[in-house]
């Protein structure tokens, strides 16, 4: 087990190094930050001074090392656009994104898995066919278009839901949350629904496929032959078995939901990280892009590690040294 964790940490380290080099080369070395930093009509002297100030006259590896050094000290530089430290900027936007992402993923799993299991349990019933139709639609509709439709129907046509911003927030432990107020919750519903749709459909499909296969398996047949009720078969045997692939996907999807929050945040003007990164790409705010990418890479590694551990916890076959 320890060897396994060490191996994973070792891989994580390689990924972080690779990612930092990639981001550095991509964002700093390929583009020329000078053109962004200085107005075109600046004199040669000013130009040279700025180049020296940012260390751009140093060889590439030297620049990379000082870049890594700064990151290790938590210094991601200052945003050109917002003129504030990037780390502060990201931390101030993080709670909104996390709130949105978690709401979406929890909805997708808690609702998607049970109805997916139902569809797999009775694959030929009309309800199951309807569930599958919804899931295949949800799987296919691009997130941004679904968001537009939500706004059009609920905010424009019927006017019953707000369509932009976080609404009223409450500060808890120094962090603002929307879901604690009625207004905030109302603001959260549409974006969360929008972001959840794809994962929701995915969970349905996975839960259905797993359940359908397992219902034909000898394990389920044997449980039935022992007189177990259908509910016990589903809740104790089937759910436990499909939870292994589901947890894996859940972890992976947590990451991609975080990434897709970009789309939802843009449409619903949700003041989170995604909106920040899109703005920074369009305004060429490099320090923000770098910090965001590094931050996301780190987050992914943590999620992956947790998924691996959860996997080992769920599947006794992976736990070694017991027999």
């Amino acid at each position: 087990m320890l060897g396994f964790i060490l191996q994973r940490l070792w891989q994580a380290l390689i990924v972080v190094i690779a990612m930092s080099a990639l981001v550095f080369c991509g964002v700093y070395a390929v583009g020329n930050p000078i053109d962004v930093l200085i107005s075109p009509d600046a004199t040669q002297d000013i130009r040279a001074a700025v180049i020296a100030q940012y260390g751009l006259d140093q060889p590439l590896w030297h620049q990379y090392l000082s870049f890594v050094g700064r990151i290790l000290q938590g210094d991601f530089g200052r945003s050109f656009v917002y003129n504030m430290p990037v780390s502060e900027l990201i931390l101030s936007r993080l709670p909104a994104t996390l709130e949105l992402t978690l709401a979406a993923v929890l909805f997708a799993s808690l609702v998607g898995i049970p109805i997916g299991m139902y569809a797999g349990y009775k694959p030929h019933s009309p309800i199951s066919r309807a569930i599958m139709a919804i899931s295949i639609l949800g799987f296919s509709v691009p997130t941004f278009w679904f968001g537009l439709m939500l706004i059009m129907v609920f905010a424009v046509q019927c006017g019953c839901m707000p369509a932009g911003g976080r609404g009223e927030t409450v500060s808890l432990f120094g962090v603002d949350f929307s879901f604690l107020t009625g207004d905030g919750l109302a603001h959260l519903v549409l974006p969360a629904l929008n972001l959840a749709l794809f994962k929701f459909s995915l969970m349905i499909r996975l839960a259905r496929a797993g359940t359908r296969e397992l219902m034909l398996s000898d394990t389920v047949k044997f449980a039935r032959a022992a007189g177990l009720s259908e509910f016990t078969v589903l809740s104790r045997h089937v759910l436990r078995l499909i939870s292994i692939p589901l947890v894996t996907v859940f972890g992976l999807e947590l990451g991609s939901t975080l990434a897709f929050a970009v789309v939802t945040e843009t449409i619903f003007s949700w003041p989170g990280l995604g909106k920040l990164i899109i703005d920074s790409i369009t305004s060429l705010d490099r320090p923000v892009m770098v910090a965001y990418l590094m931050f996301v890479a780190l987050l992914f590694i943590v999620i992956n590690l947790l998924v691996d551990l959860a996997y080992a916890a769920l599947d006794p076959r992976l736990r070694k040294g017991r027999a």
Binding site: W145, L258, V263
Partner: protein, 291 residues
């Protein structure tokens, strides 16, 4: 009747009417996109034909061109139906080129890893796994941020985002086939490694790759639309479906719904059809659903 694995497959496929309808729809849509200039009333990129007076007209409007705009016109006076068909053409082009290249790269990496094994296999698959855990849309952002916007950048981003799925699938399928007795039988004759891989393993590992390909073409088109919508995809001179939807977004709130909705519907109909076809093939290939 000839009884081949393919004919058996088709007979089973034909039993699912929905999948057959979806397959037909895919075929028709691809065909229309291919012959776009012949079926559209207007070339939406020909600026000479665009009249600003016709802009943002509702479906059914008869404009200066003396023909009916069945789906209305967009903000620049383009016939929306024509714009959608041309947009579909661009989207399809991007999706098929990107997925096709990703398929080839993925199949080579996956099959090679499965056949060679050892350190090469574990290293290659580790990289693929890492990339799989990294969402495609972020990868596309990174590439857009590094290389800027454009058709080739986008294709590169899509290939990068997708080859890992193909490699994973090809590796899984090839590794499973590698274990089977018919491969051992071929080795025992003996046949050359090339022959074993190309004539035995690859044809048997292909069906799952085809399933992934249908899904990936659909997701490439969706991803391209999303990126274009966010403004980091194709340049505005090549209006794909995503761009059309994005352009219509600002008019959505003022009630001119058609500019965004119809391109979206076209996109969804195509993606849903592709996914339905892919689902049916996947179910047919799943040995655990047969008894």
């Amino acid at each position: 009747m000839r009884d081949t694995p393919l004919s058996r497959f088709l007979v089973e496929f034909r039993r699912n009417k929905v999948a057959v309808a979806a397959a037909l729809l895919v075929f028709v849509i691809v065909l229309i996109a291919l012959i776009a200039p012949l079926v559209t009333p207007q070339n939406p990129y020909d600026l000479a034909h665009l009249v600003l007076r016709d802009a943002r007209r509702p479906p059914g409007y008869i404009g200066t061109g003396r023909y009916t705009h069945w789906l209305g016109t967009d903000s620049q006076g383009r016939d929306l139906l024509s714009a959608i068909i041309y947009g579909l053409r661009i989207s399809l082009q991007m999706g098929i080129i990107a997925s096709g290249i990703a398929l080839v790269i993925g199949a080579i990496v996956g099959c090679a890893a499965a056949y060679i094994g050892g350190r090469f296999e574990s290293l290659a698959m580790r990289i693929v796994d890492l990339q799989l855990s990294f969402p495609a849309i972020l990868l596309a952002f990174v590439i857009a941020a590094i290389l800027g916007q454009g058709r080739y950048q986008l294709i590169l981003a899509l290939i990068f985002a997708q080859y890992a799925y193909f490699a994973r699938t090809a590796h899984g399928a090839a590794a499973a086939e590698r274990q089977k007795d018919y491969v051992e039988a071929a080795l025992s004759i003996p046949l050359s490694s090339w022959r074993v891989v190309l004539a035995h393993i690859l044809p048997n590992a292909l069906p799952p790759l085809i399933v992934v390909a249908t899904v990936q073409v659909a997701s490439a088109i969706s991803l391209e639309a999303t990126l274009s919508f966010l403004g980091v995809g194709l340049p505005p001179t090549e209006p794909s479906l995503g761009m059309l939807i994005a352009n219509g977004f600002q008019y959505l709130l003022s009630g001119r719904y058609w500019i965004s909705i119809y391109p979206g519907l076209a996109l969804i109909i195509f993606i849903v059809s592709l996914n339905l076809v892919g689902d049916q093939i996947r179910d047919q290939l799943n040995p655990r659903l047969r008894r």
